[in-house]
């Protein structure tokens, strides 16, 4: 469903942030991108979400080429992107934001209310639907963000650090929701630096260090590759072996 082939990204001649990354994500699976800060996770996620153009390499989503201008809008109908960096308009309300994005995604008027109710009920947004975003808690803002990002029920879900800054309860709700999406057959790419989240959710994990994939596989496979007994140890060994000062 998602095919990333030899992606490079450099902002200037001297610095290459992403160096020849390739992987595939199939439907009904969660692919995890794990790496320290500055490893290039966010840049790579933004390339996959079509927010940035790769310097070279190809990206296919649902059979459409993300490097082709004419396919981009079609790809946008098929992906849902969420990042904690997004701050919703503080003076707007979840209701208004949902309606606005529903119109941008061409969701028929008669369907908007049904989808909104299902989504708001799922995340407990209902009682806060008419409150201003600025008045909501961090967790509630993130839930509203998720509801809006997936308003068009996309087959591909890209979540960049979705549990960052959330309390345990909200993190659990988000993780549960990701599993629910996986069961519904969505292809999910998840970037995180929280080991437990990666371990519990991801079928396949790529460890990104200095813009390169240092290792890729399931949690078990990564531990075997590195001769370690825990996922954390595996990650640290990979980091020590691959990180260049």
């Amino acid at each position: 469903m998602i095919k990333v082939t030899d992606i490079h990204k450099s902002y200037n001649k001297d610095t290459e942030t992403v160096k020849g990354v390739s992987f595939e994500v199939k439907e009904g699976t969660v692919f995890g991108l794990l790496g320290p800060n500055g490893a290039g996770k966010t840049t790579l996620m933004q390339i996959i979400a079509t927010l940035l153009k790769p310097s070279s390499g190809t990206l296919e989503i649902c059979g459409l080429s993300a490097t082709s201008e004419k396919d981009i809008l079609e790809i946008h109908k098929k992906i849902g992107f969420l990042t904690t960096e997004v701050k919703l308009d503080p003076l707007s309300t979840p209701n208004k934001l949902y309606d606005f994005f529903a119109k941008l995604y061409d969701i028929p008027d008669e369907e908007i209310e049904t989808r909104k109710k299902t989504s708001f009920d799922r995340f407990g947004i209902g009682p806060f639907a008419d409150k201003k975003i600025v008045e909501l808690s961090t967790g509630m803002k993130q839930k509203v963000s998720i509801a809006i990002s997936l308003i068009h029920e996309p087959p591909v879900v890209i979540f960049d650090e979705p549990t960052n800054g959330l309390d345990i309860l909200t993190s659990k709700q988000v993780s549960d929701y990701l599993l629910e999406l996986k069961q519904k057959g969505r292809a999910i790419i998840l970037s995180t630096h929280i080991f437990s989240v990666a371990e519990s959710l991801c079928d396949d994990i790529a460890v990104l260090i200095d813009g390169r994939i240092a290792a890729q596989g399931s949690v078990k496979e990564l531990m075997t590759q590195t001769n370690t007994n825990s996922f954390e140890d595996a990650f640290f060994k990979l980091y020590v072996d691959n990180h260049k000062e």
Binding site: V86, L88, F101, L104, D106, I148
Partner: protein
Amino acid sequence: MGKILTIALWELKKIFGNWKKALAVFLLPAALMMAALNLFPMLIDYLTTGSFGGHKILLIDAPDSFNSYIDSIDGTTVYKFSNITSKEYSKYSDDEIKSLLKKGTILVDFNVDFKPGDFDKEVSAFYGGLASGDLDTSSDAIVFIGYDQENPGMEPKAEQFTETIMDPYEDYLLENLGGDYASQGAQLFSVNAFNPVNKILDYRSVANASASRVIPGIMVLLMYYCTYALASDMFALEKERGFYNKLILTPVSRKNIFLGKLFAINAIVTISALITFFMMFISSWLNHSNDAMSLLPFGMFLTPGQLLIVIFETVPCAFLMGSIAINIIFDSNKLQDTITFLQFPLVLFLFEFFIHMFRYTRPLWLEYVVPLHNTLQIFRDVFSSEEGFVSVIIVAAVNIYIGFIILRKTLRKELSR
């Protein structure tokens, strides 16, 4: 088109749904400018005389006729009169007189043949002579008006005093001291005195001439201020918050997102410019004191056709300003840089406002093809009733064309990110 409208309406609702924002965009700039315009004469007064106006008039040997004339117009004039005799005045030293003049006082000396004398008697004798058919009769009644000639602000004040107080006083003299000469109907030959249309046109020609130097600069400056505020909110802040990324991930092209937001900016800037213009209009018509240093004297007036030209030119100007602001926003990476760079044009427009205020020449032809500067020139033409069809079209076309070029360049750069 539907998506452009959806985005434009969203942005418009954001502004109209928040009264503080709406007030900041629509009323605050115009109100501040109105206050500045009204404070300007006071500031000039203070800078040149050391006091905040007051319009002090020192009457020397004022005759009974003048005092009763002043009583009759009391409350309709802004001047503060005080009387002294020529004897008292002669006790003033040169330095004291200089100091009086420097403080903005206007001296009005009533005399006969440059000596103290019975002014009213001299005037009565003159009219008596005329009434008896003596066409060689002459008068030695003189009113000397003294002011500080080194102060450039005092000459127009003295002229205005002459026009508004002394000219009608002449009519008053004729009516009250004219005797038989007045009853022969001498005053009936003055046409403008009873023709209200002529009076309004007189006011208009003075007010519009002043307005042509002040309003174009103000309108362009405030339009950019408004564009700057809106573009910062709609693009720079949304980029910073990441909300812009959320928008471009929808199935709406970046071109349509840009156009939707630009449409909203254009609509708001145009409405704001018209509100500003309307407030200037009100400001002028409320300016009853009509101080000589007023930037917007009483009676500013545009014909419906001229008003349409103002609206017609406002839209392309706002479009170009929006395109420039968006280009600046997408050219810089940090919000702080964006805000700084966005302020550069604001400084330029402020500079142009002052240059234009003291410019007395007509624009060169070349100036009509200089983007944005041309809008200022066409507004100036409108207020001077010198607007031409060709220049109006050229200005709108140049601004739209340059606006599209800049927008296309920004879009291309944005798409290659």
